[in-house]
Amino acid sequence: METQTIVQEIGEITQQSVKSQEVEVSGSVALLEALIVEGVDTIFGYPGGAIMPIYDALFDYNDKLNHILVRHEQGGIHAGQGYARSSGKVGVVFATSGPGATNLVTGLADAQIDSTPLVCITGQVFAHLLGTDAFQETDVINITTPVTKWNYQVTDANEIPEVIAKAFYIAKSGRPGPVLIDITKNAQIQLFNYKGYTKCNHIRSYRPKPIVRSQYIQEAAALINEAKKPFILFGQGVILGSAEQEFKAFVEKSGIPAAWTVLGAGAIPTDHPLNVGMLGMHGNYGPNVLTNECDVLIAIGMRFDDRVTGRLDKYAKQAKVIHLDIDPAEIDKNVKSTVPVWGDCKETLPLLTAAVEAKQHTEWLAKFNDYTRQEVEQVIEKELNPTTVEMTMGEVIKQLNEITKGEAIIVTDVGQHQMVACRYAKLNKTRSNVTSGGLGTMGFALPAAIGAKFGAQDRTVVAIIGDGGFQMTCQELGTIMQSGIDVKIIILNNRFLGMVRQWQELFNSRRYSFVDIQSPDFVALAAAYRIPGRCIDDRKDLPAALNEMLSNKGSFLLEVMVTKENNVFPMVPQGCSVSEIRLK
């Protein structure tokens, strides 16, 4: 077959490069060869006029590149994100020009703020038509400049190998992020002399990570050794840097209690004795209150997001702050650090572990456990073991934990269910929590769960979605149907846009302005997509339903009717300090 000849002519594909005698190929083929060398095996995409030449070339690469046809480009990019989160590899997304590219913007913004490595390839009209308002032409580069780590428009096929190499390097190095490459149609068709593909590992104007300054490690260690009430805050940086082992070693040696941000969940197992809970607006009681009582705050791979800090002028002012981060722009951005440790935490953590003394902070840790006890009594017990007739979201998560035993990947959408799921899910492994953190994109979960499963085929993927969020991207049920991928979907239906309703109840005197959302019969909708499902509203049916869902060969949708007006507590109201966390 045609393809076979080209592959043989191009020669043995080595790790680093594709060396060949010069071969004449089209830009599209060069692109696909580049993807193969970069280790890409899955592409989420949707074809269109301006990207047709690439799709034509893709037709011959069926055995090497698995293309998943989505139902909306936004679904495609969220799937790419889910794939990147669960596998740690770069997610690849294809879309056409015009509306195809603009449909990616939400996903790009989401990936940018949550530091997810993505390479998006968009088609573009012929180069000579640029700027003429041609059919399906948009100025993609300018639209996506604020939401990408880097973007570039290719108008000549000769540029393709170098640009793709640069794109992958930028996407996954340093603080990862989304990269968009816009390829004009003429460049896709153009034949050029292909001399092979070399991966990129250096760009002179780009410094992804530094050599660690040992001076700062020593200073940080000194502070930690003297500390009476040290506290570790950890975030997604630990997972992105693949530094879970190094982090665990650090925590265990120093004996310091550690709390996580939503995106850092799972970096150490949920039931690790030094894992004291979740930070943030809906985090646990102890971690929030004790932030303002610690004497040394060690922030690792987290960026002091406003949801975590509450009022900055009343956040950890009494503490000396040690900030470990790979992005120098994050250090001192929100919280002034006493010792900035700029570097890749996979490198800085072992150095720090070596320099700190082995200790236990039993009394200090006991304080956290004390707050946990209070929280369990006043909040958690009601949520996980309710006495009401209707089910709560928390008890569904608890039941799920018991069956999955903390081994599953939990993908959540955005809203009350997200907070409940993140708070109560049991996670034993890393890369088990996939959610839209910084941007809070509703509709994220369903496509992201598809991507997550493709990225981790040997793990169970459970998507927990609200009735509002599900309706935003429910067309991706079609992707599940066509690809046959196995995703377990739980819809926690409270017949409201829960989070907004909660705010309206607490702060707007229950003026429920347009949060009352009507939904279709979700099980019938799933059935229309040939996906089995069930709806339950009685807690005695819950264990059986969950078991049915998890043991089903293939995707399954379980709709659980939960209580309509329940609130997520604890809560740090907006504009309040973390010490002012409310339990009710």
Binding site: T145, P146, W150, S205, R207, K209, P328
Partner: protein
């Protein structure tokens, strides 16, 4: 260090690769925070293929520091420095179009222009264009002097500035081109030498 929260004029110098679209990437970092750019100059630097931006804004040092770090994060940006007016040598050019009749009739105007270091660029029957190079105050002064005499048109250029203590970018560029991270590249090594600044 001066009061971190007081606003003053800062000169931001950015060394970049010569890339289309980079101007936009840098500009949006300012517009995003609703900061007005007082002056923006972009031109080739002393090194081939390296571009140099000179941006003037009025903000507090705290904000400027955060801005420069966000600019430096951009892939095509090599290095960013920020300085107050005291630490740079800067010039702005201005062109004034005055009616030639006024110059011819009023000797005092001609004398004024010569005294202020203005040189004539173009002399025509109906108008004459003068050029001055210097600081804002001098230019403003000259405008106010010329206004009553009928200043037809005036245009001011962006500011160009050279950092007093620097020794060019060539050496720094060699460091960037090396494959390994190499020795540390220090942020604002010309600023507050003794002070314990967060060094990158």
């Amino acid at each position: 260090m001066s009061e971190d929260n007081e606003k003053q004029e800062f000169n931001i110098t950015v060394y970049t690769e010569n890339q289309i679209g980079l101007l936009n990437r840098i500009a949006i970092i300012f517009t995003r925070r609703k900061i007005n750019i007082d002056s923006l100059n972009t031109s080739p630097s002393e090194i081939e293929h390296i571009h140099r931006f000179n941006i003037v804004i009025t903000e507090s040092e705290d904000v400027v520091r955060k801005l420069t770090r966000q600019i430096e994060k951009q892939v095509e940006v090599l290095k960013v420095y920020y300085h107050t007016n005291e630490d740079v040598i800067w010039q702005e050019m201005a062109l004034y179009k005055v009616s030639t009749d006024v110059i011819a009739e009023k000797v005092s105007v001609e004398r004024l222009l010569r005294e202020n270091g203005a040189r004539a660029v173009v002399i025509r029957k109906d108008y004459t264009v003068f050029e001055t190079t210097g600081h804002r105050e001098e230019t403003d002064n000259l405008i106010s002097i010329l206004q009553p005499y009928g200043l037809i048109e005036f245009v001011r250029s962006a500011r160009v500035a050279i950092i007093k203590d620097s020794d060019g970018f060539n050496r720094k560029l060699r460091e960037f081109e090396r494959l390994e991270p190499g020795e540390d590249v220090i942020e604002n090594e010309y600023l507050n030498q003794g002070q314990k600044v967060f060094t990158m």
